[in-house]
Amino acid sequence: MTPHVELKNHQRERYLFSLRLIFCLGFVGVLMAILVARAFYLQVWKHEYFDTMAESNRIFVVPIVPNRGVITDRNGTVLARNYAGYTLELTPEKIPDLNATIEEIGKLVEIKPKDLRRFKKLMSERRSLQTLPVKTRLTDEELASFAAQLYRFPGVEIKARLFREYPLSETTSHLLGYIGRINQQELDDLEKKDLAGNYMGSDYIGKTGIEERYEKEMHGVTGLEQIEVDAGGRAVRMLSRTPPQSGKDLKLTLDAGLQEVAEQAFGDYRGALVAIDPSNGEILSFVSKPGYDPNLFIDGIDTESWDALNNSPDVPLNNRALRGQYPPGSTIKPFMALAGLHYDVRPPGLSISDPGYFLLPGSSHQYRDWKTGGHGKVDMFTSIVVSCDTYYYGLATELGIDRMHEYLEQFGFGKHSGIDLKGEVSGLLPSSDWKMKRYQQIWYPGDTVSAGIGQGYNLVTPLQLAFATATLANDGVAYRPHLVKEIQHAANETQAAPEPLYDLHIPAEHLALVKSAMQAVVKPGGTAVGAFWGVQYPVAGKTGTAQVIGVKQGEKYDAEKVSEYNRDHAWFISFAPADKPRIALAVLVENGGHGGSTAAPIARKVLDYYLLGKKSKPMQKVEEKAGAEDD
């Protein structure tokens, strides 16, 4: 049984084949037409577009990064400079196996674990197509050996760069701040401000301090080079060039020698010091202890060093001079005395009797004087010299909180000083309005009592206190505290001398009384006599102690019983020479105990250096017993 199969007709088959072949011919024709149409579309219709693309392929705009401005102190000592060096940088997008490449590079140049850690951190915060340094500051040998092998590493480049360096390291850390690699957030910010073009080739931007505040001035204007390149990015020839404009150099008001003396004077203590020229607001010294090495931050700090800095109980990254807020304690007293005189509440000759405590009318709560048993008869002059608390409890009560607020605010308490640094905090100068707004509570008379000796709600920064002291030293004529003396300018330009902010018009006799009392503070019978024994110039000062923890009624504060971080902070404000002040300062020693014993000696060293050119040894941290001879 064979299945029935139809034998094909040859003629019919040839005909069918021809039909199929004609169909194929048509098919080929249509596809050919599509190719022609596509070629027409690309080469004629969109020619201009693709021509531009080809040109931008070929022409590479290379930004020429301007040199960043150099920072010097008032005498020309260099505080921040640039030096040329070579780095090995990777573009992660161009490298298929990053780890293998880094390992290979490691065979040629030493890559420290620190470099790797930093590289990993940079990877997590990089911008796309950014090159990241895997090794900075190549030595000449490393440069030579790697350059010969460079062809083996696509996506790896050797770049010549200017590095920032801070020669004084820790000493200037808090005021200069540092520059660091631009992160995505900063890039977005630059784009918002339309500055991204000027940062096309820049890898660094000021992150804190002067470097951040004067970024615009110091960065400079980026230049451009138009270069014809091949696909490998190799330059074929230069087409045009616009040179960059270097960033402006800054001359600070700072005295680097004084800064070093002040920083060393703290020894192991934490704290802050701000010294100002009262006649113009120039900041001569700006210390926050402990500092940190700003050089660590420039190429991106590695995680380990960062953790060490960030988690230290001493918070070295905190700028205490600018952002530390502490109760002013007794340093508020000279200003309180002026308020008393201003409102005619306490005539200078009026004496009160100090039994060692103060009672509000109708209350049995004792506000204690620091001196058990009291100071006896105390007038305004004596109240400053011996730092009598009872006198100011009464004065504050008589003034009332709102008059205190009104008067003290003029000295800059509770306000930004307007210093040329970012991140300043305002401290706190309380008033009844403030308390109502903040706590929805009325102001109690007891609040006023403690405010009178600079405790309670009061908070000041070392900068604010230095500014207030400078204003007092300059007879009530205030200058904005500032760190930059001059921004580099052309020879024919002049930069305006600082103008006073305001004049408080304090009557001369009020000033004379308070200033003479402050001079007596450093003399026998005063609270800071120990630190200023044998001083060769007239000096005015006031000690202060800021409580960290409250002491209960009927208990006595004992430094030995509280942990180090809960001990009182020590303050000292001062200006000298007292008759014609050239320097005014505020010193804070965290947990330093008594102003006269830890803060005043630091001030003495700073003043000696500035006025006499004398250097002295740093302080040793001494575990001393709480004495009763100073406040």
Binding site: R38, A39, L42, V229
Partner: protein, 365 residues
């Protein structure tokens, strides 16, 4: 007298019309290669060598009687399949694909052999069953096609498998595969696409999307397509001039002497140059169609048609991918791109065409 006789003997199985078309394309190849290689004569000499070897093969095949060709179909196919299986089992891996067979003295790519062997085998099979063609024959012929294609897809070598798949499909189509079956297959494929798409992993979808939208990976594979389109487009109407293409000479174009040589040509000779080149291709393809139409046997018709259409497919896929209307699959521009193997296979194919043309002419006279 004697010389003329030799010349006549030499030329007798060659087709001067087809030969002139091929010659013109090969001249273009040498010219463009010189520019694409940045003025490197070695590349040009190398290609001349490839052409010489190819022409020897062309002449030999053109002079073979057709029944030799038919008789060799099964052995060549079986040999090719054996080597493909050998490659799959213990082939050499290079550039992430297992395509090469180490023969001791040379590396051989069996998939190249299959470009001829598959249509040859299918055409032989149809010729054998010409008188009694049923659906079963088409199924078997399809299996003969799919077995090698599947092995080549797995290597993976998408470009070659597409070309072999196309060459076999042309044989099926010309052999009269029913329209209903063709349309049915197309509809089934279109209908099942969404289901297949849903079954894919995200990364697989991404890779497929990449084929169609190169800008998604502008620095990776998409870079080739984008730079190719820029080269073609910036060429404009008249081109940038010979040796003047910036995309070519500043290294922006990848694979300039091989897969992307069409971009080099387009950049330097422009739209007008492209019309000329397409004209040359059309001339060769047209001649192929004429030979197909005049072929006397079922076998020769299928063979000539498949060779001609595959040649066109080669050119279309390459130009389409360079100009950005087709995804990038590694297919060189036939007769123009640098390369010995593809030159040999192509000229061998044209040798078959000439043999078909000249032997039946001899039969006729």
């Amino acid at each position: 007298m004697n010389l003329r006789l030799i010349k006549q003997r030499f030329m007798v199985h060659l087709d001067p019309v087809l030969l002139s078309g091929l010659g013109a394309l090969l001249l273009v190849s040498l010219l463009v290669l010189y520019s694409a290689s940045g003025g490197n004569e070695m590349r040009v000499f190398g290609q001349m060598g490839n052409i010489a070897i190819g022409f020897v093969a062309l002449w030999v095949v053109a002079n073979m009687p057709l029944h030799w060709l038919m008789r060799s179909a099964v052995p060549i196919y079986v040999l090719g399949m054996g080597m493909l299986i050998a490659v799959a089992l213990f082939g050499e891996i290079s550039h992430g694909a297992r395509r090469w067979l180490n023969l001791g003295f040379m590396n051989f790519q069996p998939s190249e052999l299959m470009k001829i062997a598959v249509p040859l085998m299918m055409a032989w099979y149809f010729e054998k069953h010409e008188a009694t063609l049923t659906m079963k024959n088409y199924v078997i012929a399809t299996l003969l096609l799919l077995m090698p294609v599947a092995l080549i897809v797995r290597q993976p070598d998408l470009g070659t498998s597409i070309l072999i798949g196309a060459s076999g499909f042309y044989v099926l189509f010309l052999a009269g595969l029913s329209w209903r079956v063709i349309i049915g297959l197309l509809v089934t494929a279109a209908a099942s696409a969404p289901f297949l798409w849903n079954m894919l992993h995200d990364y697989q979808r991404h890779r497929i999307m990449m084929l169609f939208d190169p800008s998604q990976d502008a620095l990776g594979k998409g870079y080739h397509t984008i730079q190719g389109m820029i080269a073609v487009g910036s060429g404009g109407l008249l081109g940038k001039g010979y040796m003047q293409g910036t995309q070519t000479h500043l290294d922006f174009l990848p694979e300039r002497t091989t897969d992307f040589i069409f971009a080099v040509y387009s950049e330097e000779f422009g739209f007008v140059g492209n019309l000329f080149l397409l004209g040359l291709f059309a001339f060769v393809i047209g001649r192929g169609f004429m030979i197909t139409a005049n072929a006397s046997t079922y076998f020769t018709r299928l063979m000539a048609g498949s060779i001609t259409l595959t040649f066109f497919t080669y050119a279309f896929v390459n130009m389409g991918m360079v100009s950005g209307i087709l995804p990038v699959v590694g297919v060189p521009l036939p007769l123009i791109s640098y390369g010995g193997t593809s030159m040999l296979t192509l000229l061998l194919g044209f040798g078959v065409l000439m043999s078909i043309h000249t032997h039946q002419r001899l039969v006729k006279t």
